[in-house]
């Protein structure tokens, strides 16, 4: 239901306005004899009643705060920014009307009141407001949909970078990340290290215990390896199969060796047993360098892979630094 607030100090004129508006079909007419009373009704003063209003008909020549001042005050409140104010005035001088429009009034009705004018102006202002309300509601809907779309895109992006089985990053994300960190290290002449990890006897584990056991083992090992990384820039990804790779920016070979050893012992502490006598362990190869024009990121990966191969050949469950 449309609520119309009539602010008019003359009881006779406010009664007349109320009667005409009711005849026009508006049932919720609220009367205020002063700007102060109107502001109280609208909740603009402490202890007000906070009534929702769709249209205000405001006399200019009010006692106390006049209609222009009241219009300014109401319009300065964001809550009533969209509420149209029609000034009701016998003073149609240019100065007076300019002040009313500058204060935020949308239209004016002259006194003495004419039913035809009142009907036309109130009708057109309310139609305009309803159209604006519809547009704003549509804008809000579109904004909400855009937010939802952004969130969905973010989730999809994250999903495309995460290894579904283990929950750590996948190889695609590793390649992007490694490339960025390599360039940063190159520009900053900083050391960058890499750790390659391979689960020992994983094929045998899968063959004897089944793939479900193998998958659970991969999840637990991924968690143990992640636990060894403490700094925000350190990063681990599933490289493929039972292989993991970690990039350690601004980390020397000695530092990387300490982290590698922590990874190895973390996995041993999992105490995953299989084939009666074996416990799941990992072999680890480490490489590191300060990037320059003679080296590539593929070179660093290949060096870590060589170190890993050496660890495997030397009896597994150990860390080797290239």
């Amino acid at each position: 239901m449309v609520s119309i607030l009539v602010v008019e100090d003359s009881e006779e004129i406010s009664q007349l306005l109320s009667r005409h508006l009711t005849k026009m079909g508006y049932k919720d007419i609220v009367l205020a004899a002063s700007a102060e009373e109107a502001m109280s009704i609208m909740g603009l003063v402490h202890g007000g009643i906070n009534k929702e209003i769709e249209l205000i008909l405001m006399d200019i020549g009010l006692p106390g705060v006049d209609g222009i001042g009241a219009c300014q005050k109401i319009k300065s409140n964001q809550r009533f920014d969209d509420v149209p104010i029609i000034m009701v005035t016998g003073d149609t001088s240019v100065t007076s009307l300019e002040a009313a429009f500058a204060a935020g009034a949308i239209d004016y009705i002259t006194k003495p009141l004419k039913m035809l004018e009142l009907r036309a102006r109130v009708g057109s202002v309310l139609r305009l407001k309803q159209e604006m309300d519809r547009r704003k509601a549509r804008e809000r809907e579109l904004e909400a949909l855009t937010r939802q779309l952004k969130q969905s895109n973010l989730i999809l992006t994250n999903l495309s970078y995460i290894d579904e089985l283990t929950g750590v990053a996948n190889r695609r994300y590793f390649e992007n990340y490694f490339d960025q960190e390599w360039k940063k290290a190159f520009r900053g002449h900083k050391f960058i290290s890499m750790i390659m990890v391979d689960i020992d006897f994983f094929k045998q584990l899968n063959d004897t215990q089944g793939h479900r056991f193998g998958d659970e083992c991969l999840r637990l090992v991924a968690g143990a390896l992640s636990d060894a990384l403490r700094r925000p820039g350190d990063f681990i990804a599933r490289f493929g199969g039972e292989e993991f790779v970690s990039v350690l920016p601004d980390t020397t070979l000695d530092g990387a060796a300490v982290i590698g050893e922590t990874m190895r012992t973390n996995v041993m502490d999992l105490n995953i047993c299989f084939a009666t006598s074996k416990t799941v362990s990992v072999s680890i190869g480490i490489s590191g360098t300060i990037p320059d024009k003679s080296k590539t990121l593929k070179w660093l990966l290949s060096e870590a892979d060589h170190a890993l191969l050496t660890a495997k050949k030397s009896g597994k469950n150990q860390v080797r630094v290239f």
Partner: protein
């Protein structure tokens, strides 16, 4: 007797010669408001006459302004026109003119007959 001034200002009211009565036609929807409105105009006349004696032109101006703003809305265009003249008279401090229009208003109220339709 036909009162010429009322013919000039009346847009909705119909005035006829009928033993000096001024007949004004008013919308039936306002019927319950009219008696009170007219009683208040009688009070306005008393208030303005008192103000003339004490030289309080601001009271006369405000009352004239209110008559101007309300009369036509109820269907009494003569009251609006008279209110305008009284307001101007108060601004000019022209007691003769003010008295003349107050008297015209009194006469109008005395002879007024309302027809509702």
């Amino acid at each position: 007797m036909i009162v010429a001034i009322n013919i000039a200002y009346s847009s909705r009211g119909v005035m006829t010669e009928d033993s000096g009565k001024i007949i004004v036609t008013i919308d039936n929807d306002l019927a319950d408001l009219i008696p009170g409105y007219l009683v208040n105009r009688g009070d306005d006349i008393k208030k303005m006459n008192t103000a003339i004696e004490s030289g309080e032109f601001e009271i006369i101006r405000t009352t004239g302004h209110q008559l101007k703003g309300s009369g036509g809305g109820y269907g009494f265009d003569f009251i609006t026109a008279t209110g305008m003249s009284i307001e101007q008279g108060a601004k000019d401090k022209d007691i003769v003119e003010i008295k003349r229009h107050i008297a015209a208003l009194g006469d109008y109220l005395d002879r007024l007959t309302i027809l509702y339709e």
